[in-house]
């Protein structure tokens, strides 16, 4: 069944206290699967299935949990990934595969796009540190491959944070942050976000932050109403 149909039916089925009906687990899982293949998303559905897994441990299915976590990464900068993590119990965290997605999430949450693209493209060089999270970097590409639209979702995320950070950005840097995107792709994304090409396309004008982010001195302003009470009650000073 298609995502839209499933979503429609499920929204009625998880209304009110029925959200906690364990019978919904199978339909919810099917819907998550549809999200993965059709590149769709529904916050209520993904969080509901995690809650049901917590309350009905016998129904727990880690493959679905991994799909959910990856889907929440695709809607960054929303906090859905953080919310999803809060709905996974400690005793589930032993799984290496789950851990790997958490580590990937940490990279994306800290906007470390350079590392992300290296992981995706297989050019990542793991350090020898014992805390190195990506000892087998090839795994990451494998994990995200079935997720339709994952890289595009990250590109949208990149553009959204650039939007609030940069006034002008050089095309070379923009392309790097977008994982070595081609000129055509960069131009298309810039157009979508309303960025203007300048200097023969070598630079994009993003937004006029200059106008809003200004050094300011805020002085105290005293309203007459604040002191009116006091003024009416003023007495003559003591005559000594």
């Amino acid at each position: 069944m298609s995502f839209d149909r499933l979503q429609n039916d499920l929204h009625e089925a998880i209304e009110g206290v029925n959200r906690y009906n364990p019978e919904n687990v199978n339909d919810l899982a099917a819907c998550v699967q549809a999200m993965v293949t059709e590149n769709k998303y529904d916050k209520d559905i993904v969080l509901t299935i995690l809650k049901l897994f917590q309350l009905n441990p016998e129904k727990y299915d880690e493959a679905v949990v991994r799909q959910v976590l990856l889907k929440t990464l695709m809607v960054l900068p929303s906090s859905d990934f953080a919310l999803a993590k809060c709905l996974i119990d400690t005793n589930r965290l032993g799984s290496q595969e789950l851990r790997r997605i958490f580590d990937l999430g940490a990279v994306l949450e800290s906007c470390n796009f350079a590392v992300f693209w290296k992981l995706v493209k297989g050019t990542y060089k793991p350090s020898t540190s014992p805390t190195e999270p990506f000892k087998v970097p090839g795994e990451i590409a494998k994990i995200i491959k079935p997720m339709v639209g994952f890289e595009d979702a990250v590109k949208q995320y990149v553009c959204r944070v650039i939007n609030v950070t940069f006034q002008n950005i050089e095309k070379t840097l923009l392309s790097r942050l977008l994982g070595g995107a081609s000129d055509k792709e960069v131009t298309a994304l810039a157009k979508k976000f309303g960025w203007e090409a300048k200097e023969n396309g070598a630079v994009f004008f993003v937004a006029n932050h200059d106008a809003t982010i200004k050094t300011r001195n805020i002085d105290e302003k005293i309203q007459f109403t604040h002191v009116a009470d006091l003024l009416t009650s003023v007495q003559t000073p003591l005559a000594l």
């Binding site: 206290v17 993590k85 800290s110 006034q167």
Partner: protein, 534 residues
């Protein structure tokens, strides 16, 4: 200072004269005054005399507890039934609700399993009276009592989950009973608890009504006779806040906020009439925002709540009688709020009310400095002190180690993982403060970043802006154009140059002068009244 009443020989006669029934005060050891109180109380409930009920509930009950029941419990239901006579089922249920609340409050180690069980059964009876009646039942209770019922119900559920997970809390006899209860899932199980709360919502059509109110429509148009009844409307309203709390305790922050999406935080909300309800609402909504990394939103709620508590403190402390056996929710939350506020401001400094800011720096100044320097342990401490008691409703431990802290550790961990990815922020801020413009490469070299890691370094700048702009929020930033910026420092990047803007706020001195002018006037008044002989 024992004020216990001595029974004189005439007790029985007096009782006879007062009420022509078969009750024997001496036999049951119930003082006259208490018996009179109970009879009057049940009559007022019958007559739906809300102002009287409020006094009886809010003042007389703690007062009598203090005088007669410091060292023993209130009489049990059978005695009470003999005193007030038969046919007062609803009053007996309400009385038992108070009775069990006392049992919970009195035992530092928590009540016996049997009392936990009985208390649940009593709640079930109360709610089924309310929910299965064909017509709205004729009952009127003061807001504070209605809120206390819902709040205590959620509290006892929480207490039971923590009890289940901690084998050290029970004796050998109780283990078997617990196995029994868990097998039948007939007391304090998550499903019936949620079911009761959600049923109160749907019975009262509270969500639909609040939504209509928000859209400036007549709520009666979406409500039947239950929804239009004051009792059901308020119970539904308070259940929303009870559910908010339950969802947060279960780590379900999105659901928590969704539950109260139509509860407006404004001076007209019913929650304003009950101080503990107001504090609960602000604390849990703020906490959910904190977990969703909307630090700005969380800060606002925490500060408003602290201001409210500060404002009403003098009133609260004038009622020492309330203190006896009653858990001091507001005082406890007051402390917790400071820890949570410290976290928010360490990650995202903002200007806040000056009186709160000075108290905060007095309490947590050093902690905040450590947090700003990236000390994760300090975040952990502040979080675990400030957060609610999380629970796992499915964890039962019959023997072995106490696992009641497990959910807390889990939430702390996922919170800290989020903080770690933002840990560079305070360090960045430290550098940015010193400049008005700064080339990105130069900042990178300050932070010992080589060219290979330059793009990763840019990620820190992007994270900073993402957090400050609250991109994670669904509704987007709510800031108005003319609103003063709340952050002390902001920046944007123009190609490879960081342009930094800081906002300096002049000290606010008018408050100070106003206060001192007032003081001077008071002194002058006193001086003028003095009769000084030459």
């Amino acid at each position: 200072m024992s004020r216990r009443v001595d029974f004189d020989m005439n007790v029985e006669e007096i009782m006879e004269r007062r009420r022509n029934n078969t009750f024997s005060g001496e036999e049951d050891g119930v003082p006259n005054e208490v018996a009179d109180y109970l009879v009057y109380f049940s009559r007022m409930i019958d007559e739906q005399n809300v102002p009287e009920i409020l006094t009886l509930y809010d003042q007389a009950f703690p007062d009598l507890t203090e005088r007669f029941f410091r060292d023993r419990m209130w009489p049990d239901e059978n005695v009470v039934e003999r005193i007030i006579g038969p046919g007062n089922k609803l009053f007996i249920i309400l009385y038992k609700e108070l009775y069990y609340r006392q049992l919970y409050a009195r035992n530092a180690r928590g009540p016996l399993l049997v009392h936990r069980y009985e208390s649940f059964m009593n709640y079930q009876e109360l709610f089924s009276e309310l929910l299965s009646s064909k017509d709205p039942i004729p009952l009127s209770l003061p807001n504070v009592w209605l809120w206390d019922i819902i709040d205590e119900f959620v509290y006892q559920f929480q207490a039971f989950c923590l009890y289940k997970a901690n084998p050290g809390k029970r004796n050998a006899d109780e283990v078997e009973d617990l196995i029994n209860i868990e097998e039948n899932q007939n007391a304090w199980n998550i499903y019936p608890v949620l079911n009761i709360l959600y049923s109160l919502l749907s019975k009262s059509q509270i969500v639909e009504q609040l939504k209509a109110l928000k859209e400036k429509k007549n709520p009666d148009s979406v409500a039947d006779e239950f929804g239009q009844s004051d009792l059901y409307f308020k119970l539904g309203y308070f259940s929303l806040i009870g559910l908010l709390r339950t969802h947060v305790l279960l780590g379900d922050y999105h659901q928590a906020l969704k539950t109260v999406q139509y509860v407006d935080i404004d001076p007209k909300g019913i929650y304003n009439t009950v101080p503990t309800c107001l504090v609960t609402l602000h604390y849990f909504v703020g906490f959910s925002h904190l977990m969703m990394r909307n630090y700005g939103e969380a800060t606002k709620l925490f500060v408003n709540c602290l201001l409210y508590i500060q404002r009403t403190k003098s009133v609260q402390s004038q009622q020492p009688s309330k203190k006896n056996f009653q858990y001091d929710v507001i005082g406890k939350t007051w402390d917790q709020l400071f820890y949570l506020l410290a976290i928010c401001l360490a990650v995202q400094p903002q200007r806040i009310d000056e009186s709160i800011a000075s108290q905060l720096s007095e309490r947590c100044g050093e902690r905040m400095m450590h947090m700003a320097n990236g000390n994760i342990d300090e975040f952990r401490n502040a979080f675990s002190t400030g957060c609610p008691k999380f629970l796992s409703p499915t964890t039962v431990v019959y023997e072995g180690v106490n696992q009641s802290k497990e959910p807390l550790l889990r939430q702390t961990q996922s919170f800290l993982e989020g903080i770690e990815s933002q840990m560079a922020l305070p360090v960045l801020r430290g550098y940015l403060k010193l400049y008005t413009t700064l080339p990105t490469k130069k900042l990178a070299s300050f932070m010992d970043v080589d060219d290979d890691h330059y793009d990763s370094f840019l990620g820190k700048l992007l994270t900073y802006k993402m957090i400050v702009n609250e991109l994670g929020k669904e509704s987007g930033p709510s800031m108005n154009e003319d609103e003063e910026p709340q952050t002390d420092i902001d920046f944007y990047v123009d190609r490879d140059m960081i342009n930094i803007a800081d906002t300096k706020v002049a000290r606010h001195v008018s408050e100070h002068f106003l206060r001192h002018i007032q003081k001077l006037q008071e002194v002058q008044d006193v001086l003028q009244r003095l009769d000084v002989k030459p």
